[in-house]
Symmetry: C2
Subunit: 120 residues, 2 copies
């Protein structure tokens, strides 16, 4: 599986509600990278400055050449780390980025904010 | 302005609330095309099967090579047609797709669902 050909883009801009200091996206990014290392998986995780989903932090996007791009929100930097990695692996395993319902962990089923098609 | 190099992708899947027959996206797409013709503007408007923003119809995406992709919802097929065309023109006029606040008509300011970066 060419997992390394996709990118998990983590919005590091969002704040946690009224708490101006906690950045749930930055925490999620660190947790993802640490867990990928533990699981010996090679998936690119990159910070991105604002996915414009400010009301549903933490938020990530799955992107890859020739694939639909998914934006997923309502993510918890602890509870959803493994689910999110499994979601990214399902995404990587598709040809066009469209992941069948049965291959979506709960955080992917519940958190989709939008999806957009690849360049034509 | 290379307006023709961008694409306005209109989600034609959404239904209007409980009304299973009305497709606000399809109506919006037709209205956009008609108005572009009246204004003698060349911007590609394409249907897309589900942008996964089902709760905020009608929904469109602005996309273009090397640009951020914006998803915009809460669009009315009558009230927002000219605003949306002006939004698309602002998007087309940028190098990277990021439209300054002062260049965003109201429907663009209020309706952003998400944005995602161009392929790296």
């Amino acid at each position: 599986m060419a997992a390394s050909s996709i990118r998990v883009l983590v919005c590091t801009s969002c704040r946690a509600g009224e708490d101006a200091h906690t950045r749930p996206g930055a925490l999620l990014m660190d947790a993802l990278r640490a867990r990928l290392d533990e699981r010996n998986l090679d998936i690119a995780v990159e910070p991105v400055d604002c996915l414009a989903v400010c009301k549903r932090p933490a938020t990530v996007a799955f992107a890859g050449a020739g694939k639909w791009t998914y934006v997923i929100g309502d993510l918890d930097g602890v509870a959803h780390v493994d689910e999110l990695i499994d979601s990214a692996r399902s995404f990587a395993a598709t040809d066009n980025g469209i992941v069948a319902w049965q291959d979506r962990p709960p955080c992917f089923r519940k958190g989709v904010v939008s999806r957009t098609p690849p360049a034509s």
